[in-house]
Assembly symmetry: C2
Homo-oligomer: 348 residues x 2
């Protein structure tokens, strides 16, 4: 079946032109309009029902609120939404909150007062009642990547628990029994689920004979460096033999400090990451990591948004989980020494 | 002298609250207002004149149009503008064009029809009359990173020529005489200047006894892969001994292909990059690169924007160049073999 691109190519114009012409938001010279109409008839093209549906909105503009545009993960997610919006002939207005709750609230006000047809909301910290209330006051919203508790909006996350499970099972199978989990406070659904999955994955292979240390914190490079410094400060005999850094930022900070401390990966410590958006395949050594389906996350968020009717959303809200995959590279090896519960417990 | 943060800390509120309170865009409970007023008096704080000036605009909202939010360089640039806007108590609406001229034009219309007080415009392709005309129709705009010809708006770029010169001089000093320049079509000011500077830097050290091949194209990972494949396909005896990849994306694509082709950096070919925003310090080997002052670029763009009066801009427009620096790491070594003009010229 012909798609928008086929029509655009046949008519010698861009996909955006065809979309906006179809949803009535673009006036065209008669000659161009005729070219498009002819192409549509010739190819028997049926416009994307979602784009057409949403274009019944006021503005053909979608808003997206994201914590930190300079994080590779969020940047890739936003890029995916932008590409999908372009295909649908929709404009996308982006707002970056720096993950600051107050800025989130003022941007939510801006979006509500503004003329966007809907909002894709992404936060990177624990929920608050203020935040939930404002999100619930929007007619059309999708919550992506990190949950906001007590919101009626449909949600799309990656399968954080599966990701943690894959990482835990992988390290346990490599022989690791004393490991360090870095990141993800329990108040964040992503952190809670990644940790629960990680424990389950390790336990499934190793049973109860293991020890999991945890360094909680935000998904930032600085938090990764702090975890790396704390790790390097431990006596080599008592250190965990593997580390699970649960975001690209955490991993980058951790890798920096391990390198500066002369601690070799994977000879002296195994490392596994999460997100796999940054160019981890070029790192020294290339990083084994759980890959988030970041493009699908962005595409499905926008598609879902265009299907929501502006009416009180169902409760409980729908929650869609996208599968993650383990990408094996060169940062995981067998442990440098066998697990000794007693020795490893002394310091704790 | 006390700054916004001092007042915010003393009053126990955020910088954003203080700014928006000061520019009248935020109603506060009397108690909070009193806390801020007291802190301002106690610290003898004078509000940022630019923020105050701009807040006389209609919306306290700035628009930023950027080609590709998922590129590390643009993501970091946007993040810097967002941080500066937050300090000034301004909202920032972002629009990503996917570097598609048509989408740029429709976003420019959106911004003009919208209620932003000003626009920071960033493109990543050669200029067009349509684009210049639309930009000139905006009351308050700054053009950043890449020039748009025939626009009256003030411009802020990194010193592209200096960056090319630093890279060329560095490779020539390492002994390279036959090198490959990847990226930057001449129609883009950044490409033209990086290339001119590169030739000047090499010539300054090596005189006329050198050969510079050039692989023109956009600053994308795919263009980097293509250049890498073409390089790998050459007979080892005829290849350039060093490559200048003039963006992080180009470098990432190039590094991928060199690795897959088993061509070792720097033993078999030296590589130098440009931008240095991505985590090039963690690559195998760590990449020597010209670093762009990406944060300063974003900060100065917003500060400059707040100083523009909405009136016909002066011509010729001002052009500010921010200095770049060479970061030496491990990807440049002496050439694998001496330069032989005749041998190296056979294939061309």
């Amino acid at each position: 079946m012909a798609n928008l691109q086929d029509v655009a190519t046949a008519a010698g114009v861009s996909k955006t032109t065809v979309s906006r012409y179809l949803n009535g938001s673009l006036e065209l010279p008669e000659r161009t309009a005729t070219l498009i109409d002819t192409a549509i008839r010739a190819l028997d093209y049926t416009p994307n029902p979602h784009a057409r549906r949403l274009s019944l909105g006021r503005s053909d503009t979608i808003a997206l609120i994201v914590p930190d545009i300079s994080s590779p993960f969020f940047a890739a997610l936003v890029g995916a939404v932008e590409a999908e919006a372009s295909d649908m002939g929709l404009a996308l207005a982006l707002y970056a909150t720096l993950n600051c709750p107050e800025r989130e609230l003022s941007y939510l006000d801006l979006v509500r007062k503004g003329h966007a047809d809907g909002l894709i909301f992404i936060t990177n910290h624990a929920s608050s009642p203020d935040l939930s209330a404002k999100i619930n006051s929007l007619p059309r919203c999708v919550v992506v990547d990190e949950n906001v508790l007590d919101t009626h909006a449909p949600k799309i996350f990656c399968d954080n628990r599966q990701g943690g499970w894959l990482a835990g099972r992988h390290l346990a199978r490599a022989g690791h029994r004393h490991v360090l989990f870095v990141g993800g406070v329990d108040q964040m659904v992503s952190g809670e689920r990644r940790y629960a999955g990680f424990v389950a994955g390790m336990t499934e292979v190793a049973g109860a004979d293991l020890r999991i240390d945890r360094s909680c914190g935000p998904y930032t490079t600085e938090a990764g460096r702090a975890a790396g410094r704390a790790f390097a400060a431990q006596s080599p005999d008592l250190r965990p033999t593997a580390i699970f850094a649960t975001s690209d930022e955490l991993l980058i900070g951790l890798y920096e400090v391990l390198g500066q401390s002369g601690i070799r990966v994977p000879d002296q410590v195994s490392v596994i990451g999460f997100d796999d958006v940054g160019p981890l395949h070029l790192f020294a050594p290339a990083v084994t990591a759980v890959r988030q389906p970041v493009r699908e996350l962005g595409q499905r968020a926008l598609r879902l948004l265009t299907r929501i009717d502006p009416q009180p959303a169902e409760k409980p809200p729908s929650e869609e989980l996208l599968p993650v995959t383990l990408i094996e590279r060169n940062s995981v090896a067998p442990p440098i020494r066998p697990f000794n519960r007693n020795a490893n417990s002394e310091e704790s």
